[in-house]
């Protein structure tokens, strides 16, 4: 692995400690390499934003240490002030200075640079985010996407060791979101920025991340590359959070995992006889229209490039299946269901009382 640019070691943060229910973040331990993009995923309230605030120094952790490069910025008896950390942050609400124009906003962090250098750097950063020529505008004269770009340019301008982005696309509509996400991804790659991006949208995570971290209730539940996190989730929660997922009953047997769709390789070390749930992604499930089919189509959702079918099995269980856009069958159609699992993901079934 490359030399770590950011390292967290057993970082713990408690808040609302005087309230009834203290919230605990951590203990968190991870490393992020030079120029890597980490996407932190999790539902709201899981501590994503707090993690960014701890790394930037806006909050002080109770335990553990944080290194940026070779420098200890937070640890026992050490707390480097945010203004001395050299961390760029794009806030969820952007926090553009309303009394300064675009060029003054972007130039804000270029403290002791000479005027010529400053203008050049501001122009360079604005060019990078595609906003050349907007120098004299004020924040209220910009659209949502443009504000976002200014906020990124402002964070990049002082060439920080680390860029932190807090839900940068949450306030934008879907189309703009995709366009901006790919633009920002390009900029981060071009500037070779070590980045942490926080979001609750798994599609955003898959398109940008080198590493994905999944947070739940303040704890790190999974760390890995996007492919692994999608295909080999470590828990039911991660499986469901990463995209549409259904589970069917199964059992560990001698030859592998047995369920109603057949036998699959056993990639776990669960003992024989264990009742399990098998993860089915919609793209694992094949449908074949047939009058003798054991299942029936109950709903179709058209997504343009694909159809997502909800199918009810004879047991009453419902599963999802992705089909091509032109593959159209009406509700009530009987079908055969086949499952083809590349990765067999099972979880021990929790016995319901």
């Amino acid at each position: 692995m490359l030399k770590p640019k950011l390292k967290l070691d057993e970082v713990v943060f408690l808040y609302g400690s005087n309230g009834a229910q203290p919230f605990v973040l951590g203990p968190l331990t991870f490393e992020l390499g030079e120029s890597q993009i980490l996407v932190v995923l999790g539902p709201s309230g899981c501590g994503k934003t707090t993690l960014l605030r701890l790394i930037s120094g806006l909050e002080i952790s109770q335990r553990g240490s944080v290194w940026i490069g070779d420098r200890l910025v937070s640890g026992r008896n050490t707390h480097v002030q945010p203004e001395k950390r050299g961390v760029g942050m794009v806030f969820q609400e952007l926090a553009l200075f309303p009394h300064l124009n675009v060029s003054q906003n972007v130039g804000f962090g270029l403290g002791r640079t000479g005027a010529g250098m400053r203008t050049a750097r501001v122009a360079e950063c604005l060019e990078l985010v595609g906003l050349g020529g907007f120098e004299r505008r004020y924040p209220h004269e910009l659209s949502g996407g443009q504000k976002q770009r200014v906020a990124l340019a402002r964070a990049l301008a002082p060439q920080p060791a680390l860029i932190l982005l807090d839900e940068p696309f949450s306030s934008l509509d879907a189309d703009l979101r995709r366009e901006l996400a790919s633009d920002i991804h390009r900029v981060l790659r071009e500037t070779r920025s070590t980045t942490i991006l926080v979001t609750h949208d798994h599609e955003e995570a898959f398109s940008m991340a080198d590493r994905v971290a999944v947070l739940k209730d303040g704890g790190l539940v999974q760390w890995g590359n996007p492919f692994d996190v999608y295909h080999l989730p470590v828990s039911r929660f991660v499986a469901e959070f990463m995209g549409p997922a259904v589970f069917v009953e199964g059992r560990v047997e001698k030859g592998g995992i047995h369920c109603r769709f057949g036998n699959f390789r056993n990639q776990t070390d669960l003992p024989e006889g264990t009742p399990v749930d098998v993860l089915l992604r919609p793209d694992d499930v094949e449908l074949e229209p047939s009058d003798s089919g054991e299942a029936a189509i109950v709903a179709r959702k058209f997504h343009g490039s694909e159809n997502i079918y909800t199918v009810e099995l004879s047991t009453g269980e419902r599963i999802l299946s992705t089909q091509r856009s032109h593959w159209v069958y009406p509700e009530g159609e009987r079908v055969h269901v086949r499952a083809e699992l590349e990765h067999v993901v099972v979880f021990r079934r929790e016995e319901l009382l």
Binding site: E83, M89, F91, L94, F97, P98, P139
Partner: protein, 518 residues
Amino acid sequence: MTRISWFLKRIPAHLTAFVMAVPLLFIFLSMCKISGPQWTRLWHAELPGLISNSFLLVLVVTFVSLFLGSILAWLVEKTDLAGRAWMRPLLAAPLVIPCYIVAVSYVGFLSMNHWRVFYGFWGAASLLVLGAYPYVYLLVWASLRRLDPALSEAARCMGAGPLRRMLKVGLPLLAPSFVAGAVLAAIYVLSDFGVVTLMRYRTFVSAIYGEISGRYHFEGAAGLSFVLILFTFAFLSVQDIYAGRRYESQGGVRVTARPVSLGVFQIPAFLFVCAVLGVSLVIPVGVLVKWFIDSLTAEGVARLWSFSLGEVLGAGLKSLLVSSFAATAAVILALPLAYWTVREPRSGWGRLISSLSQSGLALPGVLIALGLGLFLAKGAPQLHFSAVSMAAAFLIHFFGQAYQSVETGLKRVSIPLEESARLLGLTPLAAFWRVTRPILRPSLVAGWLLVFLNSMRELPSALILRPAGFDTLTVKVWTAASEGFYAQAAAPALALVLVSSPLLWIVFHEGEGRTPAN
């Protein structure tokens, strides 16, 4: 649109604006009659002294209140000062005590104990600071609350230390509220009558009052008034220049900032706030309460010094009558005017009409009484010096507050809202009654209350326009105090303070960003 409805929309609005402009108009007309030698006298004998006196007072009071108000707002909103939660409303509370009552209680308190009263400039300046700082405090406090802490955090992440954050982010964003506070304080000082008269300090207002009441020299008064009006509007235009720079916050404030730790300054800061509260609130109210209790228990000759309950009740009733008349008229007149200015595209003419009708807010009460008196003397002498003329003066003085409330309320009733009521089968009148009126109601109530409460407290125009024997609460306080019967002033003064207290509630909730009466 038919011709009739075109006129129906415009005529009430224009009539209202005309009524509100009467004092300005007649002061101007009367000034035009001043002869050359009279101008020369004014110019050489009066104006230089008045200008330097007034400006010195404005300058000192504005700067001290700006400083005091801002420091207090910062202490209670941004630091970990102990007790800041109860200090927040209390620091604004002195504005429920009319400033002349504070002055009366200090003068009485000091002279009854045979201590020295600092008449003149310093006395007037210190008392006016006590009256003006709560306004600055409220404005700065409200904008500190709306200041997004994320801005300061963003600056931190870009390497800005505390000083740079204050100079480059905090102060520029608060600047509009500083300007608004300073202009408010300056106009407060320029239009004050009670304090400068009691402190025997000559400003424009006390000189104009002297010309009217002592020498019956109305042209001279009009000349001085005209100059004063020019200065007032000059101050207001400063604020207008800055009004365009109000910075809209980008979305809601999500981050709550960690309060600044005062450390070793915790105790001095606490004592400082307590001292301010003591001087501006506890001492004046305490003195009034003491006098009140003393006069209840007085016997024999001392009873002469006290008040009779019947008199106070009678005065209260008169105040109530005139003020509620003014408030009701203000709300009724404000409705058509606000309808027109909110719903029609704003033209230059519309803006002129609306600012003309609010001009009373910026003018000293003495000028309104003077202008109205000039008009009544010509147009309706039988109404001059009557309860009607008092109510009219209050109406003109405070109409702007009713108008602003109604305007804010009407902006919340969107046209599609009324249109959808129409499509559901309601006539225009029924739509107004069932949709517009309920939404508008809190604003109407707030507007009525503001005009009513300010009318209850208004001193100079009541003093000038009252008919013989028609003593309102304010007049009672004033006449008792100016004859040295301070204890007699206590009961009506306390009554005024009590009646004014809802005012604090309205302005404090506005500062918190909530609408009153919700």
